[in-house]
Amino acid sequence: MSGKVVMVIDDEKIVCDMAKIALRKEGYEVETFVDLVLAVERLKGRSFDLVITDLKMKGIDGMEVLRTIKEKYPATKVIMITAFAHLSAAIEAFRGEVSDFFPKPIKLKELVAAVKRAVGDEA
């Protein structure tokens, strides 16, 4: 078990719940947030190895979360997910900054593999 800490942010609770089940199975400690503001607040209190965030949510933009993390917590990896396939191009621009990008619908196995890759748990 890696014991690494992963945060999942998505205003769709099911995404949080399913990702949590899949990632816990792989031994990760998972915290989920449907509210971006609370998530950003939580980042101040704990260091996360990886954040999975939706790009577009009510409230703040996922892109801002990325910026905040890169600025304040450069060690934390980021994986972006989004319901907007047409935003792929925009995400491409951040290719160097995000570890991976997944348009919905998400394949859990691919997501888990991407997490492992990002935090260096890949065999």
């Binding site: 399913m18 899949a22 319901a83 396939a85 998400i106 196995k109």
Partner: protein, 470 residues
Amino acid sequence: MKIKTGIVLSGFVNVALIVVIAAFAYHDLNRILTKLAFVEIADDLNTLFLEMRLSEKNYFLSNDPGELADIKERLASAKQVVGSMRGDIVRATGAANYAELVEDIGEYGKTFPEAGQDRPPDADAEARIRSAGKKLREFSETLIRLERKEVHRIIDNSTNGMLLSFWAILLSTVALSPVSSRRILNALKKIETLTKSISQGRFDKIEEHPGNNEIASVIRAVNSMSQELRNREEELLQTKKLASLGILTAGVAHEITNPLNNISMIAQTFEQSYGDLDETMRLEFMKKVENEAERIKNVVINLLDFSKPKQSQRLTADVRELVEHTMALVRNMLDVSAIDTALDLPQGLPPVLVDEHQIHQVLVNLITNAIQAMAPGGRLSVAVRAVSGGAAVEIEVRDTGKGIAPEHLSHVFDPFFSTKGVGGTGLGLSISYGIVKNHHGSIRVESEAGKGTAFTVTLPAITSQNFAEE
């Protein structure tokens, strides 16, 4: 009857009247001239008699036989004149009087040879001569008087006839022609009303004119044009709706992708972690799948409902619900574009009589325009309120976008006017305008470049008064 026939006929009637009047005037004038010639001759006769009497007087004074010769000569002329005027004299004074005149002339002539035999006439003969001469003079004077009277009568008659004809023509032009012109004017008035309503975007029809005249064919043509415009408008409405659908699709994709992703993730978890899940969780998963499917169904129904061609149907509606329904349709588009919303939708506003789908189309159009005018972080405000003391309801859609340049403001409702470059059809607002006008409402715009734009749709409320009229 065709108008052309009517006009030709009334013109013909007038011309005929004028011809008849001219004929009568010509006839009367001729009679007057004849009469005047007769009066002249009668005047000559009178002069002859007068001279005869003068000679007669001289003869009695001087007993000159020369005077007697003069009298005889004049008497011969008088006889000739009377003979030539026989017809006229008989007509003017009667056959008996004519016979008497001829007899008097004869009598007068006969008296003289007796008197002329170198001796002065006796008193008895003188009296007879004087009496016969006097009678002749009186007769000729009477003749002149009667003929003058006749001339006056003819002139009077002619004057009266002229006056009567004048009134007849006046009547036929002033009283009769308005009958046909009133028909034309009434029809023009109807057509004017119709074209006015067409120019305001209402494609009404007017009552067909009976008959087969020009007015009827004009009305038929205008009606068929109106019908054609109505058909085109319906096509246009549908086209524009499909265009709005394109804009809505971005929001809709997001709306469908999320529940779809949820279902997919639940299914993957169900399959991959089946053993880790207890009975309750599995059931809960299936429940969630059902809920997510329901979400998709609602999105699809909403979208289909919006895009389907609709029979126009006006029903009582609450503007607050209309706006809420529209907001549900555009909610995701607003989220995608990161637009804040502020709604002011008080309850208890007077109801309106509207085609809900058409008003949705107007609101979707105004809101998509607002979204396109704003950068992320903009604010869309939608407010409804009663105005004119409850006689109307206003829906205001306000954005904090780039605004409309003052020189463009007066054109925003023109068809094919667009400030969106190749992206805009320029039909959205003109169709919205048409829809609102069709609802007897109005739409207005205020804008300040750089600060934002507000469109306000005003719809007449159903009051107990106008509800009774409907």
